[in-house]
Amino acid sequence: MELSSYIVRIADKDTNALHELYEFINKNVYAYSLSILKNHDDALEVMQDTFITIYNNADKYENQDKPMAWILTITKNLSYMKLRKSKVTSDIDDLVFASNDNHDDKLLVKYLLDKLTKEEREIVILHVVNGFKFHEISKLLNLKLSTTLSKYHRAIKRIKEIVKEESI
């Protein structure tokens, strides 16, 4: 898998590889952190810290076949540490979207963050944005598979309803 080759190069302190990795997955890392923190600036910080941690520790990453799980575990831990240190308040006003008529995108992200519980947000982002399978999500979040599935379904249902009601 492509990711593993980046990790190997980063272990040799190849900063180009770090740059390429950043271009590849920065949104995935950011989105997951945002699902935990609901705060744009804090999620950005965690994203940067994640890449620093990857850079510092790539040489210790031995289990080379699930690099994304390793990376998002780092993101998860950094996000929770930030959450613990101070009451992080929800703030996504600074979020910028790619094209101008993306009022809907911003609303969707806002509703997703506001109307779902933290676990539901994590599960939905990990599955939809990061493409994680549910059993991978269960492992990362320490949940039973059945719990992950039912929370996911519940969350998607709720979002669908909101999308319909608000005509997003």
């Binding site: 272990a11 040799d12 302190k13 900063t15 770090l18 740059h19 950043y22 271009e23 920065n26 949104k27 950011y30 989105a31 950005l44 994203m47 940067q48 810290d49 890449f51 620093i52 850079y55 510092n56 040489d59 929770y80 959450l83 613990r84 979020l95 910028v96 979207f97 790619a98 094209s99 993306n102 809907d104 995108d105 911003k106 969707l108 992200v109 997703l112 519980t117 939905v124 982002i125 939809v128 944005v129 399978k133 549910f134 059993h135 991978e136 598979l145 599935l149 996911y152 379904h153 519940r154 998607i156 249902k157 709720r158 979002i159 669908k160 309803e161 999308v163 997003i168």
Partner: protein, 447 residues
Amino acid sequence: MSKIKKKIKGAFNNIVLPDFDMNNLEKRKGMVLVKEESKKSKKGLWIGLSTAVVAVCVCLFIGLGYFNNNMRVASTIGIDVNPSITVTVNKKEKVLDVTPNNDDAKIILEGMDLAGSDINVAINALIGSMVKNGYIDELANSILISVDNPNSAESEALRQKIVDELNAFINSGNNISVVSQSITSSSDKESLANSYGISVGKLELIEKLIAKNNLYTYEELKNLSINELNLLLGSTTENVTTSGTASDKSYIGKDKALEIALSDAGVSSVTWSEVEMDYDDGFMTYEVEFTYNNREYDYEINAITGDVLESNREYDDDANANSGSSSNSNSSSSSSSNNSSSSANTYSISSTISGYESEAESILSSINNITTPSTRDEAASLYREWESKIESLDKELDNYDDTLERMYKRGELSRSDYNSYERQIEAIENTLEQAEETLEYRTGYDD
């Protein structure tokens, strides 16, 4: 991928993030720019040498056998209630030393000389003193036993011995709850524990709770009593064993908490419920979960006052009064009443959807019957075979969904009919998601 997933994925993909900037990253935190030389080997050699020297000295001065069995600390046992006490024992499980770790412990130990006694005798004496001095009572009856012995078999055996003795104590009518664990101390842990003003045993217990629920913090939990920590352990915490029941008499009790939650929800009898104690934001709370009418409810209740702190329920998915649990309802009764769609339309749409439904169900049930293939190649091809079936049905469903939406917008379909069809399609999509997950499980393969 279903429409809603596409929307969500699209929205997040559109977010603009700052460009990669190495300088910025370097400024944030010390980035390790150069590969570190392994310093391990040098350190190991030095430690090895110094240990060898010490060992020789000891051998010279003290008969090794005698020393080992009678004077060397074999295990360290931490006892925490409110008082915190450390007991060291030798290999024969006789007490070498008893140290109070806080003022409460000093009170307990007053006038006691336990050196030389068997560990169980000592523990009995200590607990007796705690009961006498009111540290263990109806309202708080939990004791934490932490055994530290580098040999895990010995550690376990000692822990079990102590727990058995205390269980006998419980069975003879004393209402205490024993929490026990095998731990490994280290100077780091000791200094961390010291900085919090707690014992290493309590620190380890707190770490286990944090591992179970990472919203907990050291700062919050260090101030809780052993009894409160015991209540938080609930039913499933790894590497900790408990006997007896932690006293919850200072609180309203699980039954009352459930009652409060049900009454707030306006619900009387439920299919399933679960109540556990939790700690949130400075309060001991009850987390109450229950299912009523196929909807899940979640309550957080202040364990002392009974106030409802938070409540959540599964979203009220109900414009269509006929929808119970989604997946298998083939009820076409809803669609043929009070609508303005032409009956020909209605019939063909219903039967198309039913067709998709059966297809999805048949895929799911075939997948449920898969036996895990023996080689990875077989698993891969089996996976791909079914994955493509799932994907093509998903795509058809998506397209049909779009078709219905167009019909609705053109006025060919009434709102109630459209909603009802949407719900059915959602249910089929759920079935397909389930099929996909089961496929991964059964084939033991994932992309």
